[in-house]
């Protein structure tokens, strides 16, 4: 009854162990933190109540662009329970505006932005006025009595015309609506296209969409006037980044700010950015001298969470008669919000599209043009996969077009053109530096995994019966474990390093404090696995603490699939260092050599027998220093930091395949099955990697088939509710088979790369190619995501 490949025996080629007596690294262990969640005993921000806590709701701009003429707050202020009605000018007295640009994105521009808009609101959903009351309900009641006089301003709502002379320039001081431009040219591109036997091209569209975390964005800002300290309970991925930003924007000492992240109900990048209402909520707490809770409701989330992926890309591919790819060329136009998003900027996604298009392949010639334009729509920024899903769809869509023109099998065409597994380190045509990938191995594996020949045969048989199935592939690369190349070099104070502190408790248990946190992917689980193996204790003796800037080492948090590779390495090194220190204590106590730490004991290496349990060692070390040699001090709490410094990014690779059935009469696509072979280096927990792949793939499918923010000409969102904005649900999703190849990175001892985003990178491309494979005999093709029934019917000519 279950998917036949669920919980298969792991056939991972055994990598050399990184610790003695490895028990947990590489094993599919259940997450200790999952138990309380299945009991409904999580602790999410909205579960927390503080004394005198107030609640804020925001009046947000109802239209894409308007001038704020007057705010009449008297009626609202008089409503029961209302504590304050506060506008942008008031918040600006204690919070600086920001400009979200990065120095290494040359020429990037953006205008200063305040937490609450002053004078003018630039997108439907921009917060303008805060209403604070003792209860949420009272605040919402009062909001209805707030009167804001505003007048419509002409809006820039279409990216294709954002730079046209008749389109209003949103920030006149910037000169035009260009945020960032980039051009890349290896040279030789025109020659490549001119001499190519086959040239294929298409225009790819990607619908703007958003993350829809089930737990909306939320925080409690708690300014304690007695301690003169700010504590923010935040559903967030990067607590240290927020600590830094709150300190600087509010002119507080860094040490006066504490950010705590407990359970986070889904993040996916939506919760790694610094939102205007984040700063506004903190400002309210400071002004009112009491805790203030903000929970975005669902309708509000659709216009206030960051959006992503609104692109139009014209792409071309050139290939020889034998089927060698010569060149790619893209022209990418992307529409962001009226401001670049703070602090990671809204140019990164487009920048990555330029860097990543064509990524898996050997070609030398590449030309790319990028235009990132401002629009009066919600700001956009990094969302799971960032530019990868787009770059991969364009690349893989063009690859399939070329293969079809050549009459070559799409898998064989890819096998011919991917970078060879023995050719690393390598540099891609766009200049990306690749440490070591395994495209060839993954392509071999997926063919076996899906029994490709059998599927093709099945497709042919069914086609003869009028059933139209398609098979689509996507080869992908995915950046993980970033160094400082992403943000640090651009001037952003976003840590590229992380740290772990490992402490042996008197009882022999181990506590590990880590600067990378948990949002459900299983970070705390794998850290416990790594620490247990590294120190030499049972996993149930390990307690992991994350998500508190007062407690953990300083670090970067969760983004760009770095938690396992970077956080995990810090844990490994701290654990190994602790083991070494434990051994020193053992030698000092027992006054002999030939000892080791193993399974909660000090053992005699020669006989394997236990000489002393760690609990006894702990007792002596902590409580009986009088019995230890003079001049020796046990150091049973050790911190190690790690930054990946060998490459700008450690790339991973993979390949996905989608098998679909397209109903040519209705345009409906049925997802029959999905396969993924992924290489994230050393797999610490195969089950967790499988599940990251599955969740990420389904999220990518969302963009491919369902998700799009639909706007009218005035820039008003038409489908901002869970009924009209369609997210993937269980009935339509396929079973997903995942297999692993392990090519470790040499940039760390652990050898783990990241795995959280690759699924999203490849899924839309695989599904698109499968649909087009099914449609190919009809001469129809679709390149505009999401692939709705209507678009497919139109491509087939069944509907005008």
């Amino acid at each position: 009854m279950n998917a036949p490949d669920s919980f298969p025996t792991r056939h991972l080629k055994a990598l050399p162990a990184v610790t003695d007596d490895p028990r947990y690294i590489g094993a599919s262990v259940s997450r200790p933190g999952a138990r309380r969640l299945v009991e409904g005993r999580g602790c999410y921000v909205d579960d927390i109540t503080l004394p005198r806590m107030a609640h804020v709701v925001y009046w947000r701009s109802p239209v894409a662009h308007c001038r704020i003429l007057a705010i009449h707050r008297e009626d609202a202020a008089r409503m029961p329970g209302v504590l304050a009605v506060i506008d942008g000018a008031q918040v600006a007295t204690i919070c600086k505006p920001w400009v979200a640009t990065l120095g290494h994105l040359a020429g990037m521009k953006s205008a200063p932005q305040h937490p609450l808009a002053i004078d003018r609101a630039c997108w439907q959903g921009e917060p303008v006025v805060a209403v604070v009351a003792e209860t949420r309900v009272q605040a919402e009641d009062a909001l209805q009595h707030l009167i804001v006089d505003w007048e419509d301003l002409p809006a820039a709502t279409e990216m294709e015309t954002a730079l046209a002379p008749e389109t209003p320039v949103i920030h006149p001081e910037l000169g035009d609506n260009t945020c960032f431009r980039r051009a890349l040219d290896t040279g030789g591109v025109d020659a490549a296209f001119a001499t190519a036997h086959v040239v294929a091209e298409a225009t790819f569209n990607f619908g703007r969409h958003t993350g829809v975390t089930l737990e909306p964005r939320c925080q409690i800002a708690d300014w304690n006037p007695g301690e003169q300290r700010l504590t923010v309970y935040h559903s967030q991925q990067a607590p240290h980044m927020m600590q830094d930003l709150y300190a600087r924007q509010f002119d507080l000492a860094e040490s006066a700010v504490r950010v705590i992240c407990r359970d986070v109900g889904g993040s996916f990048g939506i919760k790694v950015h610094a939102y205007p209402d984040d700063f506004a909520t903190v400002a309210l707490s400071i002004l009112l001298k009491r805790p203030v809770k903000f929970v975005a409701d669902r309708l509000e989330s659709f216009t206030s969470d960051i959006h992503a992926r609104e692109h139009r890309i014209k792409g071309r591919i050139a290939a020889t008669k034998d089927g060698d790819i010569l060149a790619f060329e893209i022209d990418d136009l992307t529409g962001i919000g009226p401001f670049s998003m703070f602090p990671r900027t809204s140019a990164i996604e487009g920048n990555q599209v330029v860097n990543l298009t064509g990524g898996p392949y050997k070609h030398q010639q590449y030309r790319a043009k990028l235009d990132v334009v401002f629009l009066n729509k919600p700001p956009t920024c990094q969302y799971r996969g960032v530019g990868h899903p787009i770059a991969c769809a364009v690349t893989e869509g063009l690859v399939d077009l070329a293969a079809a023109k050549l009459g070559m099998d799409p898998l064989a065409f890819r096998q011919r053109n991917v970078m060879p597994d023995d050719g690393y380190p390598a540099v891609g045509a766009s200049g990306i530096k690749l440490e070591v990938l395994s495209h060839e191995e993954c392509l071999r594996r997926i063919s076996t995994l899906m029994d490709y020949p059998a599927l093709r045969a099945e497709q042919a048989t069914l086609r003869a019966q009028g059933i139209h199935r398609g098979i689509g592939f996507a080869t992908l690369i995915e950046l993980t474990n970033p160094g400082a190349a992403f943000y640090g070099v651009g001037g952003a104070r976003i840590a590229a390093q992380d740290g772990a502190t490992a402490r042996l408790e008197p009882s022999g248990a181990v506590t590990v404090l880590v600067s990378v946190g948990e949002q459900g992917q299983g970070s705390e689980g794998i850290f416990a696995q790594i620490a247990a193996d590294a120190v030499g204790v049972a996993m149930n003796k390990v307690r992991v603490v994350t998500g508190d800037t007062d407690v953990t080492p300083y670090g970067g948090g969760t983004w760009a699939s770095r938690g396992a590779g970077i956080g995990g390495e810090a844990v490994l090194q701290a654990g190994l260092a602790l083991r070494a220190n434990i051994l020193k204590v053992a030698v000092a106590i027992l006054k002999r050599e030939g000892l080791a730490v193993q399974r909660d004991e000090i053992i005699d290496v020669a006989t394997g027998e236990s000489v002393m349990p760690l609990s006894e060692l702990g007792r002596i070390a902590y409580f009986r220093p009088d019995t230890l040699p003079a001049g020796f001090t046990p150091e049973l709490m050790v911190t190690r930091h790690y930054a990946q410094r060998d490459y700008p990014f450690i790339f991973t690779n993979g390949v996905q395949a989608s098998y679909v059935e397209v109903d040519l009469d209705t345009g409906f696509v049925k997802l029959l099955k999905h396969w993924a072979v992924e290489d994230c280096g050393r797999v610490i927990n195969p089950m967790l990697v499988d599940e990251q792949m599955r969740g990420a793939i389904v999220q990518g499918i969302g963009g491919a088939l369902y998700e799009e923010c639909l706007y009218d000409e005035a820039g008003s969102l038409l489908n901002g509710s869970m009924a009209d904005y369609l997210v993937p649900m269980a009935a339509e999703m396929p079973d997903i088979v995942v297999a692993h190849v392990e090519t470790p990175t040499a940039s760390s001892r652990l050898g783990a790369k990241g795995a959280g985003e690759a699924g999203t990178a490849g899924a839309p491309a695989a599904v698109m190619n499968a649909i087009n494979d099914a449609l190919r005999p009809s001469g129809a093709a679709v390149f505009s995501q999401p692939f709705t029934p209507e678009k497919i019917l139109r491509a087939l000519g069944k509907v005008a």
Binding site: V38, C43, L214, G265, M733
Partner: protein, 160 residues
């Protein structure tokens, strides 16, 4: 307007008498007045399923039911079912299969799955997918959840 009502309900097996504002929905009542924060809110328009609780033994959207409608009725939440042990095998299967990541959809998903197992003991894999299609999960992609529910269906059938 908004005159508070006195209600008596059986909550997780215990009788309670409370005063509620008519407009307060059941999940807000559970979370704010009863301290039972296991039931979650994801949309408050009845679509995401995070708020799924049991009312008189049937799953309902807790955001679409008023607390005052629980008068004289029985309400069960994930905490109660958890402490009562009736979904222990389902919870164990969820943990074993990693059928949860962030855990936010999980209480609602468990409530929905528990009713399926009770009502359709011979549900197929497809039936399971259809049944839980009213519960949004952004993290797992659903397969592990379906696997966990199928595990329990199979085990209960074998034990029967």
């Amino acid at each position: 307007m908004n005159t508070a009502k006195s209600i008596t309900l059986t909550l997780n097996g215990q009788q309670r008498q409370c005063q509620v504002e008519p407009r307060q929905h059941l999940v807000d009542f559970l979370r704010e007045d009863c301290g039972l924060t296991g039931s979650h809110l994801g949309c408050e328009h009845g679509v995401c399923g995070a708020c799924t609780v049991r009312l008189d033994g049937q799953i309902v959207r807790g955001c679409l039911v008023l607390a005052v409608q629980a008068d004289g009725r029985s309400v069960e939440t994930v905490e109660g079912l958890s402490d009562g042990g009736t979904m222990r095998d389902l919870q164990d299967a969820f943990v074993a299969r990693n059928a949860l990541q962030c855990g936010y959809c999980t209480p609602g998903m468990l409530m929905a799955a528990a009713e399926l197992i009770e009502k359709q003991s011979d549900a197929s894999r497809e039936d399971v997918r259809l049944w839980i299609s009213g519960n949004y999960c952004r993290c797992t992609g659903y397969q592990a959840i379906v696997d966990a529910v199928c595990d329990v269906l199979a085990a209960r059938k074998a034990a029967a």
